[in-house]
Symmetry: C2
Subunit: 423 residues, 2 copies
């Protein structure tokens, strides 16, 4: 029997989990500080939920199956459809709603660096606002998370507008917009010759010139150039100018206009964005944009929406490279060693536990020197030693393992003393 | 197309999630205070991983399928096998290891009150200690969580020992122990006539008397009765006496010896326990015990283990009935209303966000009175109002929505003022 862990799946032991928890907690606290509320959705859904938005091609990339009740179901490959379903059907929601979540997501793809079959994905969405303020707020949330994770200046937030790109393509002639988008989306990831051919097939007359044009990126100046070359882009350039100014006001400096960002998925409308490692070493850190038509697809009223998703795999690669991944170390604060007087040791441990300390208690019943050796090997910074003598006096001995010193204190003073000594 | 949520699966919006987070956080903090480290395992595993421990019958109750690579896989119906696999193969682990986790778990069973197809399950296990201190520590952790959740006195921790029951059954004659266990496990849940018949078929001569005997529960006195009636139980009774005394020392009062607890699963060895609603209204809140042979089953060295699992469904039912389920309400602390001066409004919002407040910002761009009406409807307790005048003076207006009062403060003093006013 093969009982090994599946390829592309991970397990985390306490040291690793301690670091990951910290990263997730930064995401959570940042989203809460932006007034976003946390939600949680099923991990298994009917496959049709995803067909509605993404068509049949999504099926290949999912862990889908027929369940014992004959239902075609799948592990969720993304969160948005479940959210759109709620927004479509719950008329009582006060809009705009601001939601975030950090679910596990599954994709049946070949695992490689930064791409797993099971991963966590931070999601944030605003439903019910078509304002550019909403676009700015969502992008600012993404950038603020990266800043709080220690990545200020280490990434670029590349922003474009699919309607702007559509206007450009239409000015170029009779272009197959979807095909052109798919080719643009592959820039930097697929063979350049293939991309050029695709652009020609899509009806772009001079792919060399076009590739050169969309490779420019920067601030307001790039928007001026686009508007000069393709006048019909004007309203979308205006909107992007506003967005860039708003992000300036948030105090960020990593945002640039980048025409090569189109996001492959066909449902995006208007603004799209991706954050990339500033050194260009990894796949996108996060991606998102407007999807104003999705809620209606799920049977709801026209409800504008904007949001993004950020997996934990590329983020971890980048944070490790930049030396800002949290220390992977879990340790209790204190070990309670018992030299007899087990009941008293339990009482002392419970007192400290209720004061908020992480307290490991001896389970071996072995001699004191063996217990101390264990605590030392385990790297626990403090040991509280209690025996019959301590019980009678109502005291405990606190030993600082690094210093090798110890002090006897009344039990009631132990929590305060310990709190003062712990970092 | 049917895109509805699957039966037995739940979704949580921010109000509900706020409450659930609090409950999970109590579980996490309690486990950490006991020196347990958090772990996280894959949600999908090869089906064989579960066959090793539970045989073929587990398959019927799982969301299992053949993936696109031809692997027989399943959504995990429990966490223990993945943990046992790690303990079996990682020789570097310092034992005893104390691990906890709050994963999603899936079971293909008919949904009913307190039983879902997808639920969260708090798990805690100690691997590598055969000591009764480990049994006590794990049961104490379970009881401490229930206490911290406001359920002191509202539950009963029913404890037995499968080896003790085996000794009893053997004294009764040539009894089919497994069959008898399965019947005992169904007491209170299956038809009494069926149970009696099963006990007879298992070889128990007087099922009436037997049922009467095992229905007694209590403290040390029950153990005395058992030992008097079935002398071969003596070593196990001694062990249970120690366990009950240890739980006394922890300061708990809800633990009782209850012979009807055997836990259906065949792999338990020695001590078993279940926590039940004191009023007997619901299914078991949690269950666990010793499983000293499981790690060896997974190819490891003989490694004693003890642990328990607690789903969130019955727990929620009980907490709601007792009025201790947390308030289901999510709200930002403050709404930033902008009367022009959008850049300044953003600056003010970001300042408060970085000070840890939950800050929702206006996205509408509408007039001030509409923004105030929105914040009021949303139940946000404070509104910060900024416009051109406030920007020029470097101040903000803080409005207390309940009191209807407002005060102008220098921007630098705003966080302290707000902190003083929030509960």
């Amino acid at each position: 029997m093969d009982i090994s862990r599946l390829k592309g799946f991970r397990e985390f032991l306490p040291d690793e989990m301690e670091a990951r928890r910290r990263v997730f907690e930064v995401m959570r606290q940042t989203a809460l500080s932006f007034g976003f509320g946390e939600v949680d959705m099923p991990s298994l859904e009917r496959l049709d939920l995803f067909r509605v938005k993404s068509g049949e091609e999504i099926v290949e990339q999912t862990f889908s199956f027929v369940d014992k009740g004959g239902r075609e179901v799948t592990l969720i490959p993304e969160l948005t459809p479940a959210l759109a379903r709620i927004v479509a059907h719950r008329k009582d929601l006060q809009k705009p709603v601001r939601w975030f979540s950090i679910p596990k997501i599954w994709r049946y793809e070949e695992p490689q660096s930064g791409r797993l079959r099971e991963f966590y994905q931070f999601n944030a969405d605003i439903f019910g606002s078509s304002s550019i303020y909403a676009d700015a707020e969502v992008i600012a949330l993404a950038m603020e998370i990266l800043h709080r994770l220690g990545l200020a200046g280490k990434f670029q937030m590349r922003i474009s507008d699919r309607y702007m790109m559509e206007a450009i393509l239409r000015e170029l002639g009779d272009v197959d917009v979807d095909r052109a988008f798919r080719a643009i989306d592959k820039i930097g990831r697929a063979d350049e010759g293939w991309i050029q051919n695709e652009l020609i097939s899509a009806g772009i007359p001079d792919p060399d010139e076009f590739m050169g044009f969309i490779s420019s990126h920067g601030g307001q100046d790039v928007l001026d150039d686009i508007e000069a070359a393709y006048p019909s882009t004007r309203p979308r350039c205006e909107r992007l100018r506003d967005l860039m100014s708003l992000l300036d006001a948030y105090g960020f400096r990593e945002h640039v206009v980048d025409l090569s960002i189109v996001r492959g998925l066909a449902y995006y409308t208007g603004v799209v964005f991706e954050a990339h490692d500033a050194k260009g070493e990894f796949r996108a850190i996060l991606g998102g944009g407007r999807y104003d038509t999705v809620v209606k697809l799920f049977g709801g009223e026209d409800t504008p929406a904007v949001g993004f998703g950020m997996g934990d795999a590329v983020l971890e690669l980048l944070m490790r490279r930049e030396g800002v991944w949290p220390e992977e170390r879990f340790s209790p604060d204190v070990f309670v060693a018992s030299a007899g007087a087990r009941e008293y040791a339990i009482e002392v441990a419970m007192k400290l536990r209720r004061e908020g300390f992480r307290v490991e208690m001896d389970l071996s019943g072995k001699g004191l020197s063996k217990q101390l050796r264990y605590a030392s090997r385990r790297g626990i910074p403090f040991v509280v030693i209690v025996g019959d003598r301590e019980m009678e006096k109502g005291v405990a001995v606190l030993r600082d393992m690094a210093a090798g010193t110890q002090v006897e204190v009344p039990l009631k003073d132990l929590p305060a003393l310990l709190r003062g000594r712990l970092p």
